[in-house]
Symmetry: C2
């Protein structure tokens, strides 16, 4: 149940509503954990009923009311306990890699467009991460010195940057391979 823990972390960093959490899962937290709003609302409700979170109804002007969630004692304890438990190292799920191996049983050139599209997405993500890094950690407007929380956010972001860079380089390798095979065996 890592979603639960991701929510605890995000709400400890800053309390917010389900909607706001869904936004955060599209950026920051979402770089390494994704969730849809439906999932988030469901889990928030459960966590609140389990006493991990507190809710506060907020009436807003010029916007619908919202429910602001924040972490209470037992939630913090649950997070701390989870931090002490081992988790099993990630198992990758890379659908594109399945496709690439599958291309051996069709024409490799059909994948070129698809791989180029993926490359573009990763390239955009990299630019986005780098802009965030400059804004929050390495630029002139960044806090100095960084506190522990910021240092940890930064090292996670560096992981995202390293991942995107590696992926882009690999996709270039894939493209070169696909193009080579397409030349050798032109489309029927």
């Amino acid at each position: 149940m890592a979603l639960e823990h991701a929510i605890l972390v995000s709400l400890l960093e800053k309390p917010g509503s389900g909607y706001e959490l869904a936004r955060r899962f599209e950026r920051s937290i979402g770089y390494f954990w994704t969730a849809t709003h439906q999932q988030i609302y469901r889990v928030l409700k459960r966590m609140e009923s389990e006493g991990l979170l507190a809710v506060r109804e907020m009436s807003q002007q010029s916007r619908p009311d919202k429910k602001e969630y924040s972490v209470v004692g037992p939630g913090r304890t649950a997070l701390s306990q989870w931090l002490h438990e081992p988790i099993q190292p990630e198992s990758i799920r890379h659908e594109l890699a399945v496709k690439i191996r599958g291309a051996a049983f069709d024409n490799p050139s059909v994948l070129i467009r698809e791989v180029e599209r993926h490359r573009q997405v990763h390239s955009d993500r990299l630019a986005h991460y780098q802009a965030g890094e400059l804004r929050d950690f390495t630029g002139p407007a960044a806090a100095t010195p960084l506190d522990a929380g910021q240092e940890l956010q930064h090292v996670v972001l560096r992981g995202g940057i390293a991942y995107e860079r590696m992926t882009i380089a690999w996709l270039d390798d894939v493209l070169a391979t696909l193009r080579r095979l397409s030349t050798a065996h032109p489309p029927a």
Copy 2:
């Protein structure tokens, strides 16, 4: 339904039983797509009933009987069709990254052991991939020249190697950060 397609690819590469597929999902295919035997048996049964696969009962000596599955016409068509459809670029799910950000709300040093353990696992995987690369693609015993299928398997394996290398380097960065923060704020 990428599991279905991963199974098609694996069975096209070589027909086999559910048990054998489960083994393959622990190595080769499993480098980028994981599945348990229960999942595999369930999906194989469904795919067979949908006419994508053919089964052959094989009685074996000194072993229980097995059912050997192989891809038939409609299965191949289904794979080919899937290759032409776009898929959405991967969203990472990195539980360890959630933990690292969560460490800001506990003591960062509690994660050092955990991160070291993960580093070891990735380091072992890298060694395993590199041994496979030498055996199948770059060593003296490798086929020359490689056919299209082997070229594609190789480029996927290179992706796995790049991923593990990148991850190990990042985990070293994480460890350095955690150690720095632990020194600055020694355990209570």
